[in-house]
Assembly symmetry: C2
Homo-oligomer: 120 residues x 2
DNA sequence: GATGTATTCAACCTCTAGGTTGATAAAGCG
DNA sequence: CGCTTTATCAACCTAGAGGTTGAATACATC
């Protein structure tokens, strides 16, 4: 049987959300995400615009990777990073689910108020 | 001149994102958000399902409030919490901006590859 | 095989997040 | 007014985040 390389099943959906939201709570990591949206980049390229050490950026990338937001391939000595849009999609799905629930409650409330105006 | 009660302008958009994503990175706070999507609730009501102290929940609510995700009104001794769907919307807007950038890059790449197949 | 380049590992430091307990504040109620 | 309910404040503890420096690994090149 092959070794499973994809998404560790021992990591729950809850953990994935924990890590992904935590990953995006750091401004440097958000800037990294913004950069990666433009296209893949190596650790050095990602570190260049910032005034922190390469090691710090390397740690940030590990956080993003553990959160499932980025993947990395090997290319000689380089480890180019790739932003996974599906992971971002899962986050918006979580948020939007609740946002829409609230919006729908508002609509139902509006409808109720409107119907009561007709029969005072 | 009236005292400004709404969104402290000293808090940058960056800070707002920091706090909002950090707020959602905690599983208990996400469950609180899920509960509030169903309707407003007091601190006691929110704390009831969980095995932590009331004080802990009170702290969590402060985090959510400082992140702008919830607002609170006064009702006798109670402080009912209200989930702000617009705050959630700002988060999805941030995420979706980058997710769509990536998706569009894919589409352009697909188009390029398709056009190259026609002229080998 | 020695050297250079890209990245990570390891040890360490400091600050904060999330939890606890105990005391305090504010508003209704007998 | 004293008592109860609801919620917060204050002090404390522990684990982890995010940063640093210095050493180690992995591949490419000379």
């Amino acid at each position: 049987m092959d070794k499973v390389e994809l998404a560790d099943p021992a990591i729950s959906e809850e953990d994935r959300l924990n890590r992904a939201f935590a990953a995006l709570s750091d401004p440097l990591r958000r800037r990294i995400v913004a950069r990666l949206a433009q296209g893949d980049a190596t650790v050095n390229e990602l570190a260049e615009p910032f005034s922190v050490t390469l090691q710090a950026v390397s740690k940030h990338l590990k956080v993003l990777e553990d959160a499932g937001l980025i993947t990395r391939r090997r290319e000689a000595q380089r480890r180019p990073c790739h932003l996974d849009p599906e992971a971002l999609g899962r986050l918006t799905a979580w948020i939007e689910g609740y946002r829409q629930t609230v919006e729908e409650r508002y609509e139902r409330l509006d409808a109720l108020l409107a119907s009561q105006e007709n029969q005072p």
